[in-house]
Amino acid sequence: MILIIGGAGQGKLEYVLQKTGLGPEQVARDPETARSRPVFAGVEQWPELEENELLAANPEIILICDEVGSGVVPADPEQRLRREQVGRLCCRLAARAERVERIFCGLSMVLKGEGTWN
């Protein structure tokens, strides 16, 4: 599994499509579809994602997730919980990923993994 993170609109999906040669129609937007697609974008929309199940079904998947935890702690408890869930999910995913890259202004920083990707 490869994990790609970064702020919204930083070019994460474009980067992945360019690296892999995949098309937008091969990108899953929900966990069910992600079981049989090479890329799952918008993981931050699924803070309660069951990653064990997904990775058992699709161990080579590329996961794309927005970083959402870098504002002032929200006053609304639900929002607070959500961004913490996304943060913890990313920690778990990063620990299992063979590669983690962070995209910033379309540029990549490798946080985990050897050499260049593709």
Binding site: L3, I5, G7, E67, V68, G69, S70, G71, V72, V73, P77, R80, R83, E84, Q85, V86, G87, R88, C90, C91, L93, A94, A95, V100, R102, M109, L111, K112
Partner: protein, 172 residues
Amino acid sequence: MLILVSGGASSGKSAFAEALVGARGEPKLYLATMQVWDAESEARVERHRAMRAGKGFETIERPADLAGFALPEGCAVLLEDLPNLFANEYFGAAGAAGAAERVLRGVLRAAERSALLAVVTGNVYAGGMDYAAQTRAWLAELARLERKLAAAAEQVWEVVCGIPVGWKGEAV
């Protein structure tokens, strides 16, 4: 020695900072800044307590006035966390005026007395500035305070999904 550890919400910054302090041979202190006032903060304290369990930390609660605290000398200390401490100071009885200076003085003094002081802070600056005026003012002062601490620190880390990224010091 002062080390600053930042990161987003639930980014693994506490676990990383705790491992830095936990690896030291000196007596270990945990300076807790959070005032417990509801079930959520209680659960948060409990989670962090479980993380530190069995690692030999002595917990000291110090929600404000760090400068007025006689920290035992020569310890390895984990201070968690700066935004909380600064909010308690800024919105607390001592007042917003001079709050940043008081916290800066307190942290630098604590660092001088410690073998290692790791300060956990939060990257809270990239969620827009769509906040109440008072929050914006607090945020701007926190950022200035943090930059001063980063300038004084020997190491500065940002933890991203549990992975430490070095900004200053050894790691860079």
